[in-house]
């Protein structure tokens, strides 16, 4: 079957329409990009999300539409499992484990018509790479022979028997994703790495060199969470119920935030806080009022009642609660902040009452952001533009503003800076950032100290 671009698009549309394993969540937001820059298929999530397809690979290895669908579902499940299992760095062993679980899910849920793609592609796969396809009739025969000869073991018999048990279990769904990942974390990945170098690449061609787990956009994360709630996770995860509730990327606990960071940031915020009637924090201020009732603290008032024929006015003092004020904050969410963003979020989560709402995130544009349960909900274009922040501050006219960034920003237009003459803007630069550009612009900078564990290393 010769699959052309129009046919491939129709297959994707059909898959979105039929929605097996809730794959619509990701596929429906992806533009299709036919390119030979990827070896097989790849999905990038962001703005815009894109499904990159090497059509020649599809034409060579997919004999029918079900094979193409299997390939697409494989990509979707790879994203879903990687994010739910929070695999930040992909190693060859983890990649094989994850792919084995994915291919087993496809085999169990969608049948042999779909997993035939994997059976063909990995037909000659050696050693542990056999996990990537369901057992064929020859493997079944070998498995039966291994079981029969258990009483008369040969060298390597035990290992092979264990391997076949795991292989059978993963395709029956009794060995789930968590078990396989645990297993592979313990394995030495050297053998797998060498086998992969010698043979053909994995479906999806997931690179494990420097390929960290991307931060999901809010809408993509919500879609994945929706997909998790839709599919039955039984046979995929040990605790399917917990996975269904969604646990995409947890922030570090606030307690782990370095104490110096918290005190430096709090001091900076205190300097910048301005009165705000909508502030969520209240502070008590002394106040007084007059009553015709005597009290011991206003002795002068008491004396006045002895000679003054009018109704006495005795001063009573009290305290009234007033909004404590807040500060407008702009948080840099560009790609260069990825490494420190979670720690900064945990830091800000503890100082939220003093941050004016909406709280703003910026990349090449300024957008509203929310920190909900320690997780940042916003979107980013990936770049950084200080001009966008200054233009926004000039437009919204806050009396004070705090920019949290790593300092890797371009120089803004001088006219923008001039428009902010009566506004006070300061910057908080992350521990690994650089204050130079901001200092050159005349923006006061507070730099977070290096965390002790990093400083020591």
């Amino acid at each position: 079957m010769q699959i052309d671009e129009a046919h491939f698009r129709a297959i994707v549309l059909e898959l979105i329409d039929n929605n097996p394993l809730a794959c619509r969540a990701v596929l429906s937001i992806c533009d299709i990009d036919f390119t030979d820059r990827v070896e097989t298929l790849a999905v990038t999530l962001g703005r815009p999300s894109s499904l990159k397809v090497n059509l020649q690979f599809v034409q060579t290895h997919c004999a029918n539409e079900n094979h193409v669908k299997a390939l697409l579902i494989h990509e979707f499940l790879h994203i879903l499992l990687r994010h739910t299992s929070e695999i930040k760095i992909m190693t060859p062993a983890l990649n094989v484990a994850l792919d084995a679980v994915i291919n087993a899910i496809i085999h169990r849920r969608l049948g042999a018509d779909y997993s035939e793609m994997m059976s063909r592609y990995y037909e000659d796969a050696p050693g542990p790479l056999r996990l990537l396809r369901p057992m064929n009739s020859r493997d079944q025969w070998l498995w039966q022979n291994l079981q029969r000869s258990e009483t008369l073991p040969s060298p390597g018999h035990h290992e092979e028997l264990e391997f076949f048990r795991a292989w059978k279990a993963v395709y029956e769904g009794t060995l789930v994703a968590d078990d396989m990942l645990d297993l592979c974390r313990r394995f030495c990945s050297q053998e797998i790495e060498e086998l992969l170098k010698g043979g053909r690449g994995l479906l999806g061609g997931h690179c494990w060199e420097g390929g960290g787990l991307e931060v999901l956009e809010v809408d993509v994360a919500a879609r994945l969470k929706g997909a998790l709630q839709t599919i039955d996770g039984t046979g995929i995860w040990r605790d399917a119920q917990r996975m269904t509730q969604g646990c995409l990327r947890k922030p570090p606990p606030v307690s782990r935030i370095h104490g110096e960071w918290r005190s430096a940031t709090r001091a900076l915020l205190q300097r910048l806080i301005v009165p705000d009637p909508r502030s969520r924090v209240a502070r008590e201020e002394p106040a007084s009022f007059a009553l015709p009732v005597l009290n011991a603290s206003d002795r002068r008032g008491c004396l006045r009642t002895l000679w003054n024929p009018l109704l006495p006015e005795v001063v009573w003092s009290t305290a009234i609660r007033k909004p404590a004020g807040s500060v407008q904050v702009y948080l840099d969410v560009s790609g260069s902040m990825n490494a420190e963003l979670q720690a900064l979020l945990a830091l800000l989560a503890g100082l939220l009452p003093w941050i004016k709402t909406p709280f703003w995130a910026f990349s090449t544009e300024v957008v509203p952001a929310v920190i909900r349960k320690g997780r940042l909900e916003t979107h980013t274009s990936g770049g950084t533009s200080l001009s966008a922040v200054l233009a926004h501050a000039a437009k919204t006219r806050p009396r004070t503003a705090l920019i949290i960034t790593d300092g890797f920003v371009e120089k803004p237009k001088p006219s923008l800076l001039r428009s902010l003459r009566n506004q006070r803007i300061e910057a908080l630069v992350s521990a690994t950032g650089t204050p130079e550009v901001l200092e050159n612009l005349g923006i006061p900078v507070t730099r977070l100290p290096m965390p002790p564990e990093t400083a020591a290393g």
Binding site: M1, H7, A10, I11, L13, E14, D17, N18, N64, E65, N66
Partner: protein
Amino acid sequence: MGLALNNCRQIIRASLLGAVGKRIACPRGLVVGLPVAPGGDYLAWCRRLLAQRGLRDTEELKSLPGLPPGAWICRDIPQQGPPVEESPADPLLHAAILGLCNPVFYSPRRPVIWTESRLRRRVELFAIGDFYAD
């Protein structure tokens, strides 16, 4: 006395589909399915039909006369069934309807999706109006 109950196997089958003259009814409409395509390549055959008719895009099929209006329930039927009278003569109309059917519903508001698996189906359509009218 008859057989003990645990030795009996009863199969109960009921369907609203095709019911005529009942208060709740989903009467049967068209039956669609393409004849066996030359070379078994339904997609290529349908694309040729599309080109012969001077249409460039499958979405243009929505303007074909005879396309059932509104949503219908669709059900797969065996490929080797007898010919049905309700079947339209134009094979391109069959292809258009099949492209507008997902596993459960037909709707002309959906995109026309032409894949081998959809074009190979043989389906019968049932009106849903009477079921939801009450």
